[in-house]
Amino acid sequence: MPDPLDAVFGALSDPTRRQVIKALLADGPGTATALARDLPISRQAVVKHLQALDAAGLVEGERVGREVRFRATTAPLTEVSTWIDSVGPQWDERLDRLSRRVP
């Protein structure tokens, strides 16, 4: 099974996909057509990027009439904040051990 965080970083490793998700975060939910209007890529390319972001759990689609409206989701990134929240206390403990180790 692929690692979820790996999938998130994999999806975000593409600059165009980062543009897509930033646009969704800045302007709110949007369709592939609307995104293609604002970005220098075709609608077809936008759809492909949205599929990749969807697979990583970074966007969620909702059918609106004939089109699907996508919104950015933040759930997968809570793992990133978990990383940040856990790293500080880990070093505090290590440095505490080091202080006690040194005479």
Partner: protein, 147 residues
Amino acid sequence: MTGTDDQIQRSLELDVEAGELWRLMTDSDELATWLGDEVDIDMVPGGGGRVLDDEIERDVLVEQVVDGERISWRWWPRDEPGAASRVELVITARPGGTRLEITETLIAPPVSAHARLAVVGSSLSAIRWDLRTTLMAIGAAATCLAR
């Protein structure tokens, strides 16, 4: 306690000589007394290793070793290779002892094959910067949603 969204920094003043602190930073047996429960690192540039700490097993790749002054390595949890980060330890002398500065920075994934393919032909530093701003934007949105 300082740092940014994807970086933490700590510093510690110790009453030991730089040479002794260097030994504590580089000898696996010494590292096992404070860095983790089990440590085995070949502390030379390009050297590998592993650290078991608090039931998390990390693989290590040593990047830089400046004798007596500075060490940096990249590590990632064995079961979460996308969560790689860089650790930098810097030793400076001060009257009566030494000062140790530690920085750990989340980095773009270096260890997964698909991510490696994705960065081919691009500037890694530009990607890292853009990734950082993207993560910050998403983090800010997450904070807003949590409120």
